[in-house]
Symmetry: D3
Amino acid sequence: MSGKIRFDGRSFDELRKTTFERNFLKYPEGSVLITQGSTKVIVTASVLESVPRFLVDTGTGWITAEYSMLPRATQTRNQREPYRGRAVEIQRLIGRSLRAAFNYERLGERTIKVDCDVIQADGGTRCASITGAFIAVFDAINYLYNQQLIYEFPNYKVLAAISLGIKDDQILLDLNYNEDSKVDVDFNLVMNEDSEIIELQGTAEGATFSKKKLAEIIELGEKGILELIKIQKKELNI
Amino acid sequence: MSGKIRFDGRSFDELRKTTFERNFLKYPEGSVLITQGSTKVIVTASVLESVPRFLVDTGTGWITAEYSMLPRATQTRNQREPYRGRAVEIQRLIGRSLRAAFNYERLGERTIKVDCDVIQADGGTRCASITGAFIAVFDAINYLYNQQLIYEFPNYKVLAAISLGIKDDQILLDLNYNEDSKVDVDFNLVMNEDSEIIELQGTAEGATFSKKKLAEIIELGEKGILELIKIQKKELNI
Amino acid sequence: MSGKIRFDGRSFDELRKTTFERNFLKYPEGSVLITQGSTKVIVTASVLESVPRFLVDTGTGWITAEYSMLPRATQTRNQREPYRGRAVEIQRLIGRSLRAAFNYERLGERTIKVDCDVIQADGGTRCASITGAFIAVFDAINYLYNQQLIYEFPNYKVLAAISLGIKDDQILLDLNYNEDSKVDVDFNLVMNEDSEIIELQGTAEGATFSKKKLAEIIELGEKGILELIKIQKKELNI
Amino acid sequence: MSGKIRFDGRSFDELRKTTFERNFLKYPEGSVLITQGSTKVIVTASVLESVPRFLVDTGTGWITAEYSMLPRATQTRNQREPYRGRAVEIQRLIGRSLRAAFNYERLGERTIKVDCDVIQADGGTRCASITGAFIAVFDAINYLYNQQLIYEFPNYKVLAAISLGIKDDQILLDLNYNEDSKVDVDFNLVMNEDSEIIELQGTAEGATFSKKKLAEIIELGEKGILELIKIQKKELNI
Amino acid sequence: MSGKIRFDGRSFDELRKTTFERNFLKYPEGSVLITQGSTKVIVTASVLESVPRFLVDTGTGWITAEYSMLPRATQTRNQREPYRGRAVEIQRLIGRSLRAAFNYERLGERTIKVDCDVIQADGGTRCASITGAFIAVFDAINYLYNQQLIYEFPNYKVLAAISLGIKDDQILLDLNYNEDSKVDVDFNLVMNEDSEIIELQGTAEGATFSKKKLAEIIELGEKGILELIKIQKKELNI
Amino acid sequence: MSGKIRFDGRSFDELRKTTFERNFLKYPEGSVLITQGSTKVIVTASVLESVPRFLVDTGTGWITAEYSMLPRATQTRNQREPYRGRAVEIQRLIGRSLRAAFNYERLGERTIKVDCDVIQADGGTRCASITGAFIAVFDAINYLYNQQLIYEFPNYKVLAAISLGIKDDQILLDLNYNEDSKVDVDFNLVMNEDSEIIELQGTAEGATFSKKKLAEIIELGEKGILELIKIQKKELNI
């Protein structure tokens, strides 16, 4: 069924065009505008000279995230209500993923605060946020390193995230909003350059999926993520 | 390593003792106290004669959930702050799972509101909430049926949820709090009586897992869930 | 008129069946499930190693309380809105009563935080909370004493609380919800084992009462409270 | 001990000077500035053409109240935080008392909203609010009557409220702030012109009181309230 | 057009009767009731022995303000919602104006907190608040000086504020509520005794104004402000 | 003094480079990215088929605005706290200005909601928001017209806004952040293509200004605004 063409002309296993505009803003230590199809997210990484209470006096650092949308990022306008349920769930996921990408303990007692602000939402915004955030955090750490605020660049493994869905038994990679609203099952996969899984969320809204389908999903997701990581690496020249 | 004994004497693939005290409270249309080891959750299912705005005048019903903890359900006291991030994430999961279990569209234009109140938290509270909620919602629907408010019992598939973890490459089923705080990777699996997956969340806090390990996790989770479903069915006499 | 039988079969001066399930939860320093008829309240007493700001560096302790209801403790579901007016009024009453029962100044600079969570509400929940809280706080202090965190058990006088009402000139002891919603005047009395009054609230919703009636109310309330204190003392073996 | 002189020169059973400035503000249907010693409260009564949801379509009216303090009504400045616990408790008391004074059911489907704003607080502010609110509500009802929005003036009984305290076994009438902060037991009594009790609150902060003392308190409170009612009646010319 | 008479009988360039009741309240360090026509504002100035975070350890002081209205200061009752948009805008203006009037840096590390509570609103409440606040802050500083908490009275220039409007090309001074709701353009001017402008806000709701008109507005506003300052000086005997 | 060069090389009366990226986002009916120097604001105009309560059933429309900043639009990160005082003040100004630009009554009973989200803040963000909003609202009205939702394009006058400051007696046009933080007096001027003033705010933080200076400010501001309007007209081809 690989010949099947989607509404936007992509084949089932094809990513949307993904670009990064690095150093998109002038003040943050790291920032990027990630574009995936019509989805656009401004991701900034800010260095804060403080850590959450449970880390005070431990000498180790932290990475955390906030996620929000402009009111008119979507087809109809949403109210500005920060920290609604869905946003909280997403920003916890972004934070966990980044902490799995970088050895944040070696940042000294400081926090890298990631802000993901979706300015145009056409599906996959949480995944775009994670994929973009890797770039922004990398640059913020680079800033720390170049400013000699840390003397060793912490270990990291490049990671990216991708959404997938099942529609009438057909798996689709990298859903746009229209597809996302129609699939039976919805997946978000976060994986690193060594094909290790960091996070996997599979959600069936009024449907189910089999163990066999799950395995196929992982295979296709891995393919997409490794493509994204290639783009990230080229962008970062690493 | 299957002979390895856990601190509480269980083998790696052994559930904690699970009991249901059905009709635990006198006012709700459905209610249950679910006990899994030391974890205790009061789950109620309330019939509300209204639906969310997007369903008004559609003739179909809805199931939704709230999740909270008593301040001293845990080893140290927590503040009462409803709708914190973690609670929101959990109650969305509970709602989705129940909507996958029952054909809620056939409830008429009414909502079954599930309230999960953890009175003692020793790990696995979101899974216990889902497993218990199946019972409470079943009883609330039974109430509607017996009161002749609906004339057909909607289709359903029994489901349950279980947590799993990986600690030093060893998979563990049904984590208690002590185990949960020590595993490298943390899974929550929601599955129905036909072994169809409704929800899968795999989260690595500072670690990763391979595709092969994921397959093993699903196998062991399925075993645990089918055991739980057997207990649920016996309790409901179905 | 003492022969008059109430709907639940009690005579006008008869308490509902009252039981205590001591150490109901495993984590709190003191905890009890108090049942009075169909009213059920989980009361926990948590030892906090801090005091309100006005007591810092005074060396004396504090007892304070929070009161809440599960959403479906009642016949119809209530929203979760902590700290609504009525709850605040009640938790202030509970705190004052407990501070009158125990010489809290001798606890060292720590707070005993009482949490009263009503899981089933059939009238008299504030009184049940106070009566149960005496047990929970006693056990929390006992914990401090046994752990040698205090070297002397502070002075105390056992106290209990009871509701009363006047309906068509007839005084009733220990109202259930149905009675409570119908009486003309509503009383809550908190009294200790020496028949000293700690708190008295008499509220007429659209009615009034005479000085003579007030004296009769106090007499009957005293009788009920002394019966409750007998049960408490037996439970605590003091 | 009746000869004992208080700091402000009053004998134990003597009210502070009480005055009413009726129609204190120009917009509200009823308004009064009540002064008791240094305590000053602006009380307004606003006619709203709506009722709480539970009264819609019943044809009966409602009286309710809000209570607040200017930030610098007190010796040190308080934050503006409306609806704190204490304020809620007080405004519920004010509302109940006024509903016991007037046959509010005969107001038609409208609400009289009482606002009590303390501009100077020297003890007894809740009692001053109630005593003043009788005047303001009376005038608001008069407005309805004069505007022929109601055709019969509803029945009423004049009421007033007074605080009392016990200090070293001596009962004191109408406490100022300094006395209020020192008494062992604190009473608020609301009573009408026929000496019927509407509300009685007796609160011992770290102390207790006997049944005999309670009877004396009621006697002295009645004396004070009847004096206040005489002033109210003269003011209203009824 | 100076002969034109307004509804309240004033000519276009005539102030409403303005009076100050100094030391209106007994607890604040400075307080005044300012009356301008039917507009009445209680202004208090409280000395707080703390400063905002950005001034800690700088040795300099601060002046800041809060502004609120009693719910029934207006023709119809408003909800109590502190810190709504309009109130915030006004209290920022009041704070800036007072900081321009007094050399607040010489107050030592303390804050003078101004509270403006409008008890009757008939137009010009923000201007009345500023004009009154000069008196209250002056008295609070006098208190500091008399208590020898500061040894030099800080420099100041007396200031006042006035509203103006344009209606059908006619400029009006000191608008009451009725006029304010009808003008095309609305001005607030804050000016000191040396005719220096501290703040100027000109707002056209659905209209515009020319540069020439602006100059005339300033002239007329200056005239009104200098009259107010004369009254202030007489009141303060400076 | 016109030869004086500012830090960024501009003369005192020189605007920063201003560009508009029209139709910046794909979902809103109107949208623009306005760039003035390093200040960048995304402005969207959304058509809502509803009006505020006070306009229901009047047949007339409304224009209103919200203003916010991304957390890292500034040199140090700010918390996400919508509707803080400053933001409210600014969004009220934006709304008033746009309502003065367009005959919003002719939009039918619908609201154009303007969202100004500052993504990079280097001074003058409220003015950039207004200047950009003219473009976005124009395009949203064009959408209504092209969709034949309105049959006549409402009257309008192009407007723009500019900031000015006085530093050591020297007037500066179009302040960047560095200049804004150093000026003694701060102006915001909103003016239309006919040189009519819509809004004027002059604020002295710890300073004052004379009537003569005010006149010079207006002159210079007019010059800047007319330049901006020329750019707007070219962009809109009107």
